[in-house]
């Protein structure tokens, strides 16, 4: 231990054994990497499932192993994996863990043991999730929204017995893991900021993750409660969500439940969930744009306020997913108004990103390209949301491919661009080596252009009236033949874009193994994580002395300064 002599009392004791260092580690950086790798692996399962769906849609009848049942199962698992087990886990568990302590200048999370537990419980939830592929009946095919009655009534949809139960169990375990993580992130941000790191000097990445963690703590309980009741309806024949029904000629002894109640519970979680994913991505992108454009973020305070505003309003818009659900039609007025109001803080963020770039000095390396890609896909994703939020315009488009295109661009592609950008950006710090810039750029171009080619045509399909979650469109005369051509085209691009993700995997593995040694601060960035004594940062992050913060994180290109960046640790006078 090189700096053993200067240990201060607050420093953690560095574990020495292999197991405690790399496996059951309590170091936030190791946990972050564990989260990231696990989430990416399960994300590749989700990607593979999307290929199977696209094969069916592009070439119906060509692949006999895909049938209406397993098509719905692929679809459901794809959605659930991507939203919860990839995006949420990697952004909070991965980026949250890595960035919070390093960016606010502390040695670790407030509760390192809880942090470790959070990862291992997340792993259990992933195993439960994937186990559903191996139980009788397979995983549930009720759609990631799990709407009852079809999700829990025997024979009503594929996987309506063991599949749904395992999934609910997995989600409950995930909620437990997420709660441990979330409590940790919130406490750490509130309690452990180093000297000088006021809240309004925190980088926007931390703001995004911090607010998203609060959202998670408030939103996930609704999913938990809904899940528990759904599980009871499935296991013990209760009727929380099941009214009098007659399935395939059989009258079931259920009475008094309301299917719409579940939809309210689900979306009370489900809508904030969108922001749990997108706020950290927004924060990361803000930091990437500022750093690689060598310019301070424009309107920092407005950015922080917008994050908080989006989060707060995000809790009162959930029923815009239910405009044609049969809920009280007067709800439509309120939920439409609240929904489109969210467009204002979202637009403020977009304007401020563009103004951050304006008159900058844009270094268009891989992280920057992905951050710019995020801005573009967020624009189209956000704008198409205005169709769906404005209740009457939602009616014809609801449950069509327009919706599929919208949410994929705004929370799938945008969020994953934020993640890719962030992974490339912090890779040199986390690993100590550089990835291949050429491969990274290739990865960006295929993914960026490909994403538009996949999802943009879906807006057109939605306008044509194509309903989503359809195994096949054969025999529907009103759909023009153009739909078949579009589906072939989308499938081919989707296969190519999916395959291109192997470039990313190869790049990270090759980079970590053979990449050029990284400098401590290759991007000449101002934030604390780039000012650690060694790269990768040691256990405890800072050596003997915690850093002291003297300025906000965006002092790029100050007039009269000798360099185009001034680290947060540099005092105001020097």
């Amino acid at each position: 231990m090189p700096h053993a002599a200067s240990h201060t009392t607050e420093e953690h004791h560095e574990p020495t054994g292999f197991w405690s260092r790399y496996i059951f580690s309590q170091d936030h950086k190791v946990i972050a990497i564990q989260y990231t790798i696990t989430a990416l692996v399960v994300g590749f399962v989700g990607l593979f499932l999307s290929w199977l769906m696209r094969l069916q849609l592009g070439f119906p009848g060509e692949f006999n192993f895909i049938n209406p049942n397993n098509y719905l199962q692929f679809m459901t698992q794809h959605g659930m994996i991507m939203v919860v087990y990839l995006l949420t886990a990697i952004l909070l568990g991965g980026f949250g863990n890595y960035l919070i302590p390093l960016m606010i200048g502390t040695r670790d999370m407030a509760f390192p043991f809880l942090n470790m537990l959070s990862y291992w419980i997340y792993l259990v939830s992933v195993i439960l999730l994937l186990a559903a592929f191996f139980v009788p009946g397979g995983p549930t095919g009720a759609g990631w929204t799990l709407y009852p009655p079809q999700s829990v009534l025997p024979n009503a949809s594929p996987g309506a017995d063991w599949g749904i139960r395992l999934l609910i169990l997995s989600l409950a375990v995930f909620v437990a893991s997420g709660t441990m993580g979330g409590l940790n992130y919130v406490t750490t941000v509130l309690q452990l900021r180093t000297r000088g790191m006021t809240l309004m000097r925190m980088p926007l990445s931390v703001w995004g993750i911090f607010i998203a963690s609060i959202l998670a703590l408030l939103a996930f309980p609704a999913l938990f409660v809904g899940g528990v009741m759904l599980l009871l309806d499935s296991l013990f024949g209760t009727s929380f969500f099941i009214p009098v029904v007659n399935v395939l000629g059989q009258q079931l002894g259920r009475e008094g439940g309301n299917p719409i109640l579940f939809q309210h519970l689900f979306w009370y979680f489900g809508h904030p969930e969108v922001y749990i994913v997108i706020l950290p991505a927004m924060g990361i992108v803000s930091d990437l744009l500022s750093t690689h454009a060598r310019k301070p973020i424009f309107g920092y305070k407005a950015m922080v306020i917008s994050i908080a505003a989006i989060a707060a309003i995000g809790f009162i818009v959930w029923a815009h997913h239910m405009f044609v659900s049969g809920m009280n039609p007067y709800f439509g007025f309120w939920f439409a108004i609240a929904t489109v109001i969210i467009a204002i803080p979202s637009a403020v963020k977009t304007y401020n990103w563009l103004l951050t770039l304006w008159k900058g000095n844009l270094h268009l390396n891989t992280p920057m390209l992905f951050a710019l890609g995020f801005v573009s896909t967020f624009i189209i994703g956000g704008l198409t949301g205005l169709f769906l939020g404005n209740v009457i315009a939602d009616v014809p488009l609801h449950d069509t491919y327009f919706v599929t295109g919208h949410f994929h661009l705004v929370m799938g592609v945008s969020a994953i661009f934020g993640i890719f950008g962030g992974l490339y950006h912090w890779f040199p710090k986390a690993v100590g080596r550089m990835y291949s810039e050429a491969l990274g750029k290739l990865h960006f171009w295929v993914t960026f252009v490909g994403s538009y080619l996949i999802f943009f045509p879906m807006f057109g399909e939605g306008f044509l009236g194509l309903p989503r979650r359809y195994f096949s469109f054969k025999g529907i005369e009103s759909f023009s033949p153009i739909i078949h051509d579009l589906n072939v085209f989308i499938t081919i691009v989707a296969l190519a874009v999916g395959a291109a993700q192997l470039l990313f995997v190869f790049n990270l593995i090759w980079g970590a193994w053979k990449g050029r040694k990284a400098e401590a601060n290759p991007w000449r960035a101002t934030t604390l994580e780039w000012q650690t004594p060694t790269t990768p940062p040691p256990h405890g992050n800072w050596g003997a002395q915690l850093p002291v913060v003297h300025r906000w994180p965006y002092d790029y290109s100050l007039p009269d300064a000798p360099q185009d960046y001034i680290p947060q640790t540099t005092s105001q006078r020097s």
Partner: protein
């Protein structure tokens, strides 16, 4: 190099989106109901969001072209401009009001069906649609989900009003130019009544009755689809809608057997 390339791709994206939209190849199917106001809302929304899409992406393209890193270039330092921020918020709010105002107005029409409408009941079940018309008395008989055990549509056969009701399992015949209220029921799981040409759409929820209304304005045959995932054969849960002149409709309806004739007590 990357900057120029990205600028070109973004400009191509904008051109492609505008051309694709203008070409009309990916536009709504021809309207066959009174809901032209919904189409107008889509057009207004498309114009407002389209302008924002084009302007923002072109600005982004300009930025990555103009401010890509080159030798000797320095970034400017500015981090705030309250007046600009306020004006941008005002413009955004204006755009939103232009969409939301008329949108809520049309929605209010959508949830207030006219008085003189013909009420038809649509029943969804895995995986087919059934339709029930009031007979000569103009009223639909009583139903109860518990009665599904007794007959296929859960109708109360002892109700005198129910006797002259007409139940068919497709296609759905509708008279031209008369407002129709569709009362939706489901026997088992969620379904959703969806005819793309009518624009209107509503879920069928077991245990309750939901409704929507429209006036067919074009004769012809249309596809009725299910728009809410309802299990394995969701994609095959289809029926036809035949819109015909009121006379043809009446003739067709008269020819159908009534509930009293088809369902045993």
């Amino acid at each position: 190099m990357q900057g120029i390339l990205l600028a070109i791709v973004l400009v191509l994206l904008v051109i492609g989106a505008v051309v694709l939209t203008m070409s009309g190849a990916l536009w709504l199917p021809t309207l066959a109901s009174n809901w032209g106001a919904i189409d107008n809302m889509l057009v207004i929304t498309l114009i407002v969001t389209g302008i924002a899409f084009v302007v923002l992406n072109l600005i982004l393209a300009y930025i990555v072209f103009r401010y890509r890193a080159r030798d000797g270039q320095k970034a400017a330092f500015f981090a705030e401009n309250h007046r600009l921020e306020r004006n941008l918020i005002l413009v955004t709010a204006l755009g939103i009001i232009v969409m939301l105002g008329p949108g809520l107005f049309v929605y209010s029409e959508f949830i207030h069906p006219p008085q003189n409408a013909l009420v038809i009941e649509v029943l969804g079940q895995q995986w087919r649609w059934s339709f029930r018309y009031p007979g000569t008395d103009g009223k639909l008989g009583r139903t109860d989900p518990k009665l599904f055990a007794q007959n296929a549509v859960g109708i109360d056969i002892t109700d005198p009003v129910a006797q002259d009701d007409v139940v068919v399992h497709g296609p759905l015949h509708l008279p031209l130019n008369r407002p129709i209220i569709i009362k939706l029921r489901s026997k088992d799981v969620l379904h959703s009544f969806y005819v793309p040409e009518f624009r209107a759409k509503m879920d069928a929820v077991p245990g309750m009755v939901t409704r929507l209304w429209f006036t067919p304005t074009k004769t012809g045959t249309f596809d009725l689809l299910c728009a809410e995932l309802c299990g394995t054969a969701h994609f095959q849960m289809r029926s036809k809608v035949i819109v015909e002149s009121p006379e043809e409709f009446e003739r067709w309806l008269q020819a159908q057997p009534t509930v009293a004739q088809t369902i045993k007590k």
